[in-house]
Amino acid sequence: MDFPQFLQQLINGLSLGAIYALIAIGYTMVYGIIGMINFAHGEIYMIGAYIGLITITAIGTMFGCPAWLLIVSALAMAILVTCCYGWAVERFAYRPLRGSPRLVPLISAIGMSIFLQNYIAVLQTTRDLSVPELITGHLFSFTMDGFNVSMSNSRALILIVTIALMATVTIYIRSTRMGRACRACSQDIRMAGLLGIDVNKVISFTFIVGAFLAAVGGVLIGLSINKINPFIGFVAGIKAFTAAVIGGIGSIPGAMLGGALLGLIETFASAFLPTEYKDIVAFSLLILILLIRPSGLLGRPEVEKV
């Protein structure tokens, strides 16, 4: 592979990885605090994409307003509605099961995932819906050694928004009061409750933050690949979960690293090998990391709790 092609794959890989990372944070935060895998999280992302499309269609046909305003309102609406979904999923499908064996909420999560998928399929049909191409043009595009290297504006937007959101989440968790409470809960949730922290509030908060990020990911991917269907959440959810595990589940920087890594590896794999191999390579990486470093790249080894 020559340099220009490498550069192009790097750009593609990073923007794909950014979406994985956005979703992976939702998995990792929830796992960090209540120790369960929220398998409905991919569906939350899919719902975000749909709400974005619905908003764009509704506003676009009514006023014909500028593209940037459409994008901003699609993001705002998607975040608002998706956060409600994120909160409701926890409140009604997981909270009543808290304290039961670990398998029980897991099954409930799988049920929730199937429910949401089919609920959207019934409301919006299972066909691919096309998302209007609101972001056109390229941030840059040049020819190097006869190979065209370019970065579309939609991919650039994904990268910029993702980096900004990750920085915000990191700072929020590290230095605010609610972030402190989240970290305390992730270390010893019972003790946090004893010290008067409202544990239910913290858990709801993590689901809402996860849904927020997933919604942004959903809207941006819709604007970037211009079509969505009710099943995009399943694949993206599994990939993002893989990213979270690679990075070390429970660790937020780990989710970011895992997302970027998985996006890059997948993209390079499809550049070198036939495209069909990309998932094989991605999941082989998962198995490899679990064998060599079961706690993930940045995860802390499991400490026995007494």
């Binding site: 929020y172 605010t176 402190r180 003790m191 004893l194 409202d198 908060f205 007494v306």
Partner: protein, 271 residues
């Protein structure tokens, strides 16, 4: 002379208001009775110790009082209500907080963060004010920090304020755990073997600290402890347990000379 002092102390004790009374407490695990027939009263601003050989059921009594266990029988009266079986986080809000035999700090957070997070319930937390760093948020955060600093000074942990709690020495961790309890303004502090694992100098410093908590913060202290020197030094009243049952109660002097207690600790003389 000692006896005269004791009389004054005991008569004063009778007149003080009661903070906590335990009536006929029983805790069974299946067929096994871990604790049975426990009765005692803790007076306000008192240092009350529960002692006994290993496995006597002391921690079980603690777990019942602090809401970790629901007692099988009996009453635990605090603030005029029977609190037996209430969940621990509710009791914490009513002013009953405890430490643990195996220290339970947030090990990956810094020392000062451990003290800040304990104030979470007292601070009015709005999700967005932290993000936008409003002035009200900053003021209350500053106040929380100065309370944390006060306690860091008190338990001599100022120098290690920014270290991860898990990296502290055992004695420092124990002091931090006490400070973290105290910052929630408890009325009744339960200390489960606060001197375990401490060296002799640290234990002496613990005497001073526990007395200071009672004097300056007006907190009532109930403790379990194996270190007899510490117990005899600071306690106003001692309950001795063996095999889940009370065998003696009284001032350190009374307990020390009680033949039942000596027998429990040293074994019976040949008969």
């Amino acid at each position: 002379m000692i006896t005269a002092d004791e009389t004054i102390l005991t008569s004063a004790r009778e007149n003080r208001p009661t903070m906590l009374s335990v009536h006929n407490l029983q805790m069974r695990f299946g067929g096994l009775s871990a604790v049975d027939g426990i009765n005692f009263h803790v007076k306000e601003k008192e240092i009350f110790a529960i002692i006994g050989p290993n496995g006597a059921g002391k921690t079980t009594v603690f777990n019942c009082i602090s809401g970790f266990y629901k007692p099988s029988k009996g009453e635990i009266v605090y603030g005029g209500n029977d609190i037996a079986g209430q969940p621990s986080h509710k009791l914490a809000r009513k002013g009953i907080v405890r430490t643990f035999q195996n220290v339970r700090l947030f090990r990956n957070m810094t020392v000062v963060e451990n003290l800040l997070v304990a104030q979470h319930a007292q601070l009015n937390t709005n999700l967005l004010s932290g993000l936008f760093n409003t002035s009200r948020y900053r003021v209350s955060e500053q106040a929380a920090l100065s309370r944390a600093t006060f306690w860091l000074n008190k338990v001599r942990l100022r120098d290690v304020a920014n270290r991860e709690a898990g990296n502290l020495s055992y004695g420092q961790q124990r002091r931090l755990e006490i400070a973290r309890c105290m910052i929630t303004h408890p009325k009744l502090l339960l200390l489960d073997e606060p001197a375990a694992g401490l060296n002799p100098q640290e234990t002496v410093a613990l005497d001073v600290l526990i007395r200071d908590l009672r004097e300056t913060c007006g907190v009532t202290i109930l403790l379990i402890e194996h270190d007899m020197r510490l117990v005899m030094e600071i306690s106003d009243c001692i309950l001795v347990m063996e095999y889940g049952q009370p065998i003696a109660e009284g001032t350190p002097e009374e307990v020390k000379n009680n033949p039942r207690v000596i027998q429990a600790y040293l074994g019976a003389a040949d008969e």
